[in-house]
Amino acid sequence: MKNEVVKEKIGFGVLLLATLLVVIPVLLIIWLILSKGWSALSWEFLFTMPRDGMRAGGIFPAIVGTFYLVIASIAFSLPIGVLAAIYLSEYAADNLLTRIINLAIINLAGVSSVVFGLFGLSLFVIFLKFGVSIISGALTLGIMTLPVIITTTREALRAVPKSYREVSLSLGASRWQTIRHSVLPFALPGILTGAILSIGRVAGETAPILFTVAAFYLPKLPHSLSDQVMALPYHLYIVTTQIPYIPENFRFGTALVLVGLVLIMNITAVIIRSKYRKRK
């Protein structure tokens, strides 16, 4: 074999190895959670209230709480993020203000989640008097996911060829009509990707909800946006570190449910996305 061919084979081998190194932890996590948590799954575990200081019964309120938080925060951040991205990518001139805004968005993405929690506590819980509630938690989580949604939406809008815009404009469409009919429909799959990423982030975050919404133990379901809820990630932390003598499969079962819930919501979004892709 020639020297170049050998080099190439080694190069491909390194690339493959790197790829495997990425996959292995994912598989290990899934295997760990499944093997240790599967036995906890039951009708009672999924759909009843916790009992015995959370050592028995189910985690239903935490599931419902996390579900509500995801829906409420996405309902807040998706429209605002998409509208902001449309403005930034389609209308805003490249000037100092736009650059400052872009910088702010990048910095927002870099702020650690516990700081968002503190921010939510001071703004929503205390200053705006929303109290420790779903609305405070959802708004905090929503602000935290805004950078992701804005960035992915902007990339999706930029990926729509300039020629589509020019064709639409040349056919007498206004700028907004062009965005509405010749840009957004083709950017939608990318926008939904941003939403999917946010769902996972929102469902899994602990620090922001710690100050703003999460209850340690609350064996009833929320009735309104101003109620507190239990949430899966916080519950996982509690059952793992705060409560002695708890069956191990309760911990891993909770983790399994959290991962499963995110997976189900993601799959739903992926199905919606592929429907839009087909419509092209």
Binding site: A93, D94, P161, S163, Y164, E166, V167, S168, L169, S170, L171, G172, A173, S174, Q177, H181, S182, F186, K280
Partner: protein, 277 residues
Amino acid sequence: MGHAEKKRCDMTDRREANNSSAGQVDHPDPKIKVRELTIHYGKVRVLNNLSLDIQKNEILSVIGPANSGKTSFLRSLNRLNDFEPNIRMSGSILLDGRNIYKDLDAEGLRKRVGMIFALPIPLPRSIHDNITYGPRLAGDHDKSALDQLVEDSLKAAYLWDEVKDRLRSSALKLSGGQQQRLCIARTLALKPEVILFDEPCSGLDPISTAKVEESMMELKKNHTIVLVTNNTKQAARVGTRTAFFLMGDLVEIDSTEKIFTAPADSRTNDYIIGRFG
């Protein structure tokens, strides 16, 4: 070929920008009147003090090497230049005597001045949707009228027979030549008065090119056409008059026959016989 009409050699020199000059007798009011048009992109001047007239029902071919400003000129005629970030323009463009940058709104102007791009760009929708895109956004929702419009436009672009059975299928499935004729049909659906062709055949094979040229010759009867082309032979085939641009300057504008047989400027001759460009 239409360029045999000698009476059209109304040389529109920028020094005689006056309508009453001798060459203009047959055309007292041009469709489009460009006066002292200068365009800068940032610090780069792409068009320099351009003045010319475009007559009703003529095909004005614009030829010239790369960076001669011909596409910038074309895109100023339907104000598609508006969206270039660093553009500066001076001078005036009049459509039927009205200043397109002052007296007309851009959307209304673009319905009257249609454009065919270098590459056929069907929107990723059905053939029917592509053609009705403009009219529907303009508020036309009468289904039978739209169907009729689709048929008329496709027939005018010589595409009807090839696609009449699959109007609802994606426009992306058409061949390149068919797509370009679809783009022509789509522009025609707006019933424009002027049609701008920006190197419309640069991506097409000779047969498709011939079909597009054929439809141009037909469209000339009811439309004013400006054709920017890198293909000097195409300019010779279809142009009523031909303008030669070089580095942002209008070197020469005259009847196509004159330009291609006895150009006044040696640079025009050099370009046509292929010495540069």
